[in-house]
């Protein structure tokens, strides 16, 4: 039964990873990063349930805290990227490209 939850969490992580690689819109990339973090949280919480202690839940709580801080800073970076590149597509932000 635990293995089904872990498989589900791996599928969610994989879908998020595919989204990060494929999409050019940096806001959608940020959303896919949140998807990956959610997949990880699901794995942590299901381990916590099937082992009978709360350590997985505490770790998932800290993952949520760090994800919130990272989303705030990431959006600030996106806003300042938008100011120079005038677009949110990563293919338009190629100033440093050789």
């Amino acid at each position: 039964m635990l293995s089904y939850w872990i498989m589900l969490s791996a599928v969610l992580f994989g879908i998020g990873a595919v989204g990060v690689i494929i999409r050019r819109n940096v806001l959608v990339v940020l959303m896919c990063i949140e998807l990956m973090l959610n997949g990880t949280n699901l794995a942590l919480v299901s381990f916590s349930r099937f082992q009978g202690n709360l350590q997985g839940q505490v770790m998932a709580f800290f993952v949520i805290v760090v994800a919130a801080a990272e989303a705030a800073v990431g959006l600030a970076i996106i806003i300042s990227l938008f100011r120079t590149a005038k677009s949110v597509e990563s293919s338009d932000a190629g100033d440093l490209k050789g």
């Binding site: 599928v11 349930r49 839940q57 949520i64 705030a72």
Partner: protein, 163 residues
Amino acid sequence: MIIFWILAVLLVSSAAAVVVMRSTLNSALALTFNLLVMAAAFAGLHAHFLAVVQVIIYAGAIMVLILFAVMLLNVKAERHKRHENYLLVLAMVLAVCFCGALAPLVRAGFGQPAPETAAVSGSLAAVAKLLFSDYVLLSQVSGLLIIAALAGAVMLARERRKE
């Protein structure tokens, strides 16, 4: 078990919708739905405090931030030139390999739920007890992290005055 399959179908389909949808707003709404169903999954795994935290912080605060950014930056749909099809194939192959590496786990089918006592009930009292006794350093440092992230976000996003 039926609950697991319902949750799994909802989670995977909304995750796929986040990746596939052309419009950024549709992706954001699909992600919000995914986060809410994930909170239901946490509640089903007896992590009640974490389910509430997920709704309040993830679906409530983080998604609102993302939607603010979508609204303020006036994001339209992605343009259609897609000359990187090899990247799509490579990403899919890697994701399938990653999930396939866990396939023997599913065949083995290990893990029965542990019997539930009050100490590990996933309620607010039990998690708070752990957070403030064993992990008190981590919880204080995470407060510091949030302050640092707040200051950094304000610094990054403020108007640059042209001297």
